[in-house]
Amino acid sequence: MKALSQRRRHPLAAFALLLMALLVTGGIYAAASTANEAQAQTTTFTANDVEEGSKLFSANCASCHGMGATGSDAAPSLVGVGAASVDFQVGTGRMPMQMDGPQAQAKPVQFTDEQIRQMAAYVASLGAGPAIPGEEILSASEGDSSNGGELFRVNCAMCHNAAAAGGALTRGKFAPSIDGTSEKHIYEAMVTGPQNMPVFSDANISPDDKQDIIAFLKTIEEQGSPGGADLGSLGPVSEGLFIWVAGLGVIIAFTVWLTSRSS
């Protein structure tokens, strides 16, 4: 202890202390973030997948994301985004991006499932990140839809709308409708946070709760609308538009008919 106290005014003491503080916070952060990170079942990729994926990446993605996926002025680095990110972005057609804009739009998928798997393998090989979820976590029938509904309303509905019909964000960005999105892609969106969506890590929403949310979404998708045509599930605006245009329109047609015989 004496040696330590004697050297406390050494010119390098401040640096040593700073280094120690950084190591401690960094270490705690690393431990915490691994604990938080979505630990879905990892699909195993072969060296050949990585090899093929690398070629596909160089040919289709590197012009924006850079050689080695280290990023450029036009697009972010993909080191550590994980296989789930690739599977979501390419698997829903958002990547390769059609054009620059507020956010990447979904469009017809440009690659085969095999090619997407290979690119995912390549990106996963660059650094640890969320993996593509396995089948067992995605089976909607296992989930509790009423718990999922509560979680959805608290965490998702403010952007995606209570009936998952989508909603607006600032400056041309938007939260898309989730209707028709596959279980796998819903899960991947939650763990990777594509576009403007926040990441919902396992510490935030556990894998079981994610399964419940998927179960809820699939339940309301499959049950349809109990009260007749849902008018887009957009709430009172589409209802008001409907009564003014269709409802009042029909009534006016009748008033014209009823009074047409006089004068």
Binding site: R153, A157, A168, G172, G228, A229, G235, G247
Partner: protein, 561 residues
């Protein structure tokens, strides 16, 4: 009626006649039928929106009564055990659970909920359209000013009825609506928090509000609406119905069908048409899917949260109001009072109250404002065509534009997502339009009214352009104008057109301030004016060779040349 009982010498012969006479001699039914059965109502499709409002109100009473049998306005906590799976076991209020039960577990309940809600939307819409008809045709003028005011009160009551009903299911959407009302109330300086605590029985949301709104919704508001409808219809009978001018239709008569039997049959049939249309809509289209929104919880707010259409304009005004101007000016002032500092939150108070105050004040006072401008104290039973009162029409259109921009602002998020534009840009545009839109609308619609008047004048004087070019024997080419018939021409020419009133100086040669202002306003109203066709002009136009050859006989004479 006294005369019918005094001269009661009639002895019926049949059994039906005896029963009828027994009743009639006690309640005087024949007198009532005699008095009201021959009441004349003119026919025009725009006269039927008041009826639509009345019929939707009847439908609301019937369907609403059904709903009260099963609805429980309690905010006690429960766990849902009904048949809607995605909410099974969720903690919620008894009110929301009973609304879900009406939707899923009571036979016909969902249909009744939907017809009640659709009827409510149509009720307010038909009240609004009816008022617009009355405004644009000048039916609010003497002697109908008070009935216009009763109508305005009915509009406000229908908004109140709608809003209190919207809140009853206690779902997330309606709770968000109540939260906004709570916020607006708390923004009122000094007494705001007291008012809010008084209404909610403590801090929002509390456990009282649903029960209180229920009492207002099913007892007080419908009772006052019924009373007002009674007064409204009594005055309609008293004043007789107004009519559009036409041959034989004057300020002192009413041309149309009597209530018994024609009008009663038509009106009765129309009730069932309205009922049928609403039933078809309720059966085929979802309204307010409360099961999507979930139980009310003060933390989440779903995207696409809007009030029903008639409250939308206030929501829109709140969205349009900037939170801050620049970086520093935030519309909030801290005002020191002897008892402490109170906040004055103009960023909430201005959008929540100012547009409503402007619209409702202008609406209530309009009959007197216009009477002051025109200095017209006569009774009016003949309606104006909107184009023949260009300034009034333009002010009405400006008001509609003001309202509709705020209304559109309530769906700014849906405009952004459905037309693929930036939400921010939508708001910037609407902020511009809420100020300048009414001014532009005023100018454009006044020009259109005047242009239509000029067109009418042209047609009355020279007839309709047929597009048929005829070469006359001496080589001249003319377009044949077809004269309109006398009935049509009457409609084009029979209207009054007030002129600018120049203020007259008093005995000292001075013009008072009020007279000066009146002169200015009168000039603003009537400076741009298309004078109606005079009989003299009409007579000279007949000497005009364009019209001379337009009749059928003339056409023959051209052919024979």
């Amino acid at each position: 009626m006294s005369s019918s009982t005094a001269t009661h010498t009639y002895t019926p012969k049949t059994r039906v006649g005896k029963v009828t006479d027994y009743v009639d001699s006690r309640v005087g039914g024949s007198g009532i039928v005699k008095e009201f059965g021959r009441k004349i109502f003119p026919d025009h499709w725009t006269f039927m929106f008041g009826e639509v409002a009345l019929y939707t109100f009847v439908i609301l009473l019937i369907s609403g009564t059904f709903l009260t049998f099963f609805y429980d306005p309690s905010m006690a906590e429960t766990h849902y055990e009904g048949s809607y799976l995605p909410l099974r076991g969720v903690e919620m209020s008894v009110a929301y659970a009973s609304s879900l039960d009406i939707s899923f577990d009571i036979r016909g309940g969902l249909f009744m909920r939907q017809i009640h809600h659709w009827a409510a939307l149509l009720f307010v819409a038909s009240v609004a359209v009816h008022m617009l008809r009355v405004f644009f045709t000048g039916a609010f003028r003497r002697p109908r000013e008070f009935n216009w005011v009763v109508g305005c009160v009915l509009l406000i009551l229908s908004l109140a009825a709608g809003f209190t009903g919207y809140s009853l299911p206690d779902d997330l959407l309606s709770g968000n609506g109540l939260r906004i009302i709570d916020g607006v109330m708390k923004a009122i300086p000094v007494v705001g928090t007291y008012l809010s605590f008084f209404l909610f029985g403590g801090e929002f949301p509390g456990t009282m509000i649903i029960g209180r709104l229920y009492v207002l919704h099913i007892l007080l508001i419908p009772a006052v609406i019924l009373l007002m409808i009674g007064i409204h219809l009594f005055m309609v009978v008293l004043h007789k119905h107004s009519q559009f001018p036409g041959p034989g239709r004057t300020n002192t008569n009413v041309v149309g069908y009597p209530v018994g039997p024609v009008y009663a049959a038509k009106a009765g049939g129309f009730f069932f048409i309205v009922f049928g249309v609403l039933a078809a809509i309720a059966a085929a289209f979802t309204i307010n899917p409360i099961w999507n929104y979930g139980p009310y919880d003060p933390s989440p707010v779903s995207a696409g949260t809007q009030p029903d259409w008639y409250i939308g304009w206030v929501d829109g005004a709140l969205r349009l109001m900037p939170g801050t101007l620049g970086d520093n000016f935030d519309f909030e002032f801290m005002i020191p009072f002897p008892w402490g500092v109170n906040a004055l939150s103009l960023n909430v108070l201005i959008p929540a109250l100012v547009p409503a105050i402007i619209v409702f004040t202008a609406m209530f006072l309009w009959p007197w404002i216009e009477a002051w401008v025109t200095k017209d104290k006569r009774e009016h039973h003949l309606l104006n065509r909107p184009r023949n009162a260009p300034t009034r029409t333009a002010i009405g259109v400006a008001g509609i534009t003001f309202y509709c921009v705020m209304w559109a602002a309530a769906s700014s998020d849906l405009i952004a997502t459905h037309f693929l534009v930036s939400l921010n840009d939508v708001l910037y545009w609407l902020r511009f339009l809420v100020i300048f839109g009414p001014i532009l609308a005023f100018m454009v619609s006044r020009r259109i009214s005047l242009a239509l008047q000029r067109k009418d004048r042209e047609i009355a004087l020279h007839g309709r352009e047929t597009g048929r070019i005829v070469r006359l024997p001496h080589g001249e080419f003319i377009e044949v104008h077809e004269q309109v018939d006398d009935y049509k021409r009457y409609k084009l020419t029979a209207f009054e057109s007030p002129e600018v009133m120049v203020p007259t100086p008093d005995e000292n040669g001075k013009v008072g301030l009020v007279d000066k202002v009146h002169g200015r306003v009168s000039r603003f109203f009537f400076e741009d004016r298309v004078a109606p066709v005079t009989p003299k002009e009409l007579a000279t136009s007949h000497g005009d060779h364009h019209s001379e050859i337009a009749g059928a006989k003339d056409r023959e004479s051209i052919a024979s040349h």
